[in-house]
Structures are given as C-alpha cells and as structure tokens.
C-alpha cells in the first residue's frame, strides 16, 4: 500500500511497538506526542502539533515548510528563507544556542528588543562589552591619535603627510585635529596613503602643520578613557557671598578665610596623587589689579591638605599675600 489514509474517527488503539509509514502521511492533526526521527519533507503548518510539555523532535531531515509554534528542542539543520526567519523565528530557543550561519540574512528579530537589518543594529536593552569583539573597542593608542606633520594649501581640502609611517592606520572618516583645521573635519578620501582629502578646506598654508588623526569607528569604554578625564572641577566666586557657579564631582567648597578655600570631592579620588590646576581673577569689585596665582596647600604650618577627599587652595599675590578671587577655577586630573 503506497498511501494510508486515516479518516475521521479512525484511530489505532492498543498498538504496541512501532508503526512504520513508508509512503505519504496525510493528517489533519496529531493529537499526542510525536517522538523520534522524521525523515522526509514536513509540509504544512505545525501549529497543530501538541505535546506535553513540549514537542520533541529528534532529527528532522529534509525541508520544513510552514510555521512552527511552540518550543523546539534539538537541532534544526537546513535553510530557511529570510522572510520566514523574520516573521516566524521569534521566540525560538535552543540548547546551547540557535546558530544562524546564513550570511544573506537581512533581518534577525530577537524578541522585541533587538533587530539587525541593513540600516544597522537596533537594540533596546543592555549591551555589555563582553559581547563585542575587541576590534571595535578603542585602545589607548587610538585615544592618543596618530600624530604627524602635513603640507597643506590654504583653502584646499588636500593635505600631504610628511611622515607617512603611520598612514596605513588612517581610515576614511577619521577625524583630523590641527592648526587651521575646522573642528569636525574628517578624512574623506585617500585612506592609507600620504595624500589625503579632507571633508573641509584647510585654513592655512604651511609645510609644518602638526596633525592628529583620531579613529571614528572605535567604541570608547571607561577603561580606556577613565585616566584621561577631569575627575573634578569647580568654578566659584570667592568674594562677597561666596557661591559655586558650576561644578562636577564637588560636594562643596569650604571658605577657610580670605583667599583660602578647600574643594571637597563628592566621590573621593583613588589617592592623593592627582594634579591640581586652576586660576583666579582678582577681586573685581575692589578694582583688583595684578597677577593672581592658585597655590595648593596653606600657610598654616605644613598643612598641604591634599588628600583623596579634597584639596586646599589659596589665591595669592606675587607677594604671597592671600586675596579673594571673583572667578576661582580649580580642576583635578588623575
């Protein structure tokens, strides 16, 4: 018999052992568990398959056409159209993973949180760097940029590098920084050579312009950038009613007396080996004149008061007398 047709109401009861179908099986539904290997083509919707708790498919050899609703446990081998994946692959889980090795896939929908299509990757949620390859992460050398000299012509977008030993590391799209170069200028052509075309004209004519190139396609992580950032800063008025104009990572300043202040950090520095830089104007209300310097420490004994929690600074004259400053600026780097 080439074809067995099972009509309505006809069931196999009391069958022990295997039932082997050697031809085509046509059925409206399978009410029960389908366990074992299926060899051949499965055509139609598998939506009606049900099992407790799941449908277990040992090995399916051949093409599966149609929708699969429910959990699939086991390996899925074969091909699927992109339309099918885009529409129906949502929610599939496998152990350990479902691997899609078809490079022509244009859209992968993972739940509702992430999509990958020709316009890029759109993710709603969290991406951790452990899931990114190292090549896309910025390195310290990337952060310092590629420095060389360039020969440029005023109002021209062309630049010739004089020390092209690192030109192979310059890519189109990289940002260029240097004298006479507008902020935001990028390399638009000539990557990898000493003759570059920039996105904007160069404003000067010199044969010794110092240029720096910065990668445009690297992700900067806190591990790379952390040591290069200003850890704390404050701009305050040290005259009249002393007040803070703006600040970062500064919980308060302490007015210790005339021209004598302590900057207290909101989050402490890792140690006291940071650097302090700053400046001050004179007390403008008093018509102050002359230079003002920002000194670290105090004139009280040997109290330098430079700790991980804060730093004491003083605004002094050239004679080392203290004075209030209208614009006192302090920045901390570590």
């Amino acid at each position: 018999m080439a074809t067995l047709r099972v009509g309505t109401g006809l069931t196999f009861n009391g069958v022990t052992g295997d039932v082997n179908f050697l031809g085509i099986v046509t059925a409206v539904s399978f009410a029960g568990n389908v366990t074992g290997n299926v060899t051949g083509n499965v055509t139609g919707n598998a939506t009606g398959l049900s099992g407790t708790p799941n449908i277990t498919v040992g090995t399916v050899t051949g093409n599966l056409t149609g929708n699969v609703t429910g959990n699939v446990t086991g390996n899925v081998t074969g091909t699927a159209s992109t339309a099918t994946l885009a529409t129906n692959a949502q929610g599939l889980t496998g152990t350990p993973d479902i691997t899609v090795g078809v490079s022509t896939i244009t859209t992968i929908k993972v739940g509702t949180a992430a999509t990958l299509d020709s316009s890029g990757i759109n993710v709603t949620g969290v991406i951790t760097t452990s899931q990114l390859s190292g090549g896309c992460l910025a390195t310290i050398s990337n952060m310092s940029g590629i420095h060389t000299l360039g020969v440029t012509t005023a109002a021209s977008t062309f630049v010739t590098l004089r020390h092209p030993n690192q030109t192979s590391n310059i890519s189109n799209g990289d940002f260029v920084v240097g004298t006479g170069i507008t902020v935001g200028t990028t390399v638009s052509a000539g990557a990898g050579t000493s003759s570059l075309t920039l996105s904007l004209p160069v404003g000067i004519n010199s044969n010794a312009n110092r240029l720096a190139f910065y990668k445009h396609d690297k992700i900067v992580t806190p591990a790379i950038i952390g040591g290069q950032l200003c850890r704390a800063w404050v701009n305050f008025d040290g005259t009249g009613t002393v007040h803070i104009r703006s600040s970062y990572n500064v919980s308060s300043i302490t007015d210790n007396g005339t021209g004598d202040y302590t900057v207290n950090f909101t989050t402490a520095m890792p140690d006291a080996n940071y650097i302090v830089t700053g400046s001050s104007t004179p007390d403008l209300a008093l018509g102050g004149q002359g230079y003002r310097f920002l000194a670290v420490g105090s004139t009280y004994g040997n109290d330098f008061s430079k700790t991980s929690a804060g730093v004491r600074v003083q605004v002094v004259y050239t004679s080392a007398d203290k004075t209030d400053g209208t614009h006192v600026s302090v920045a901390i780097f570590r």
Binding site: V234, G240, V242, I244, S251, S252, D255, T258, N264, T266
Partner: protein
C-alpha cells in the same frame, strides 16, 4: 543652595562650607566638616557679605546641629 554650614576653624575664626547640591546639606556637613568638629546649618543670609574683616568672624557652637564624621 541657600544654606551654609559653619564650623570652627582650628586655625582661628570659622569656616563656611558652601554645598554644591550634589548631596543634601546634612550629608555634606557630615562628610565635609572635619571629623569631630561641631557644625551649624544656617541660611545664606546669615553669612556676612562684607569680607573686609573675614578673619574676625566668630560663632557660638554650644548647640550645634551635628558633628563632622
């Protein structure tokens, strides 16, 4: 911030803490006033704006609002 924290300056006079707003005034006081020193939280209007005699400023800390931690 319309509040200031006042505590005695070990070198003489008083210190005035100007909070940035990163933390509450109370938290700022506990953190930025030296350990063990009493402090008072006052309105900014209570602090003189004339600093001509800044070194002569004084205050009474017999009933402080707290002590530096």
């Amino acid at each position: 911030m319309n509040q200031r924290i006042v505590y005695p300056n070990p070198e003489g006079g008083v210190c005035i803490v100007i909070p940035s707003g990163d933390l509450s005034t109370e938290s700022t006081a506990k953190k930025d006033v030296p350990t063990g020193l009493p402090y008072k939280i006052v309105d900014v209007s209570e602090i003189p704006s004339d600093r001509t005699f800044r070194a002569a400023w004084e205050d009474d800390f017999t009933n402080p609002d707290g002590h530096g931690e």
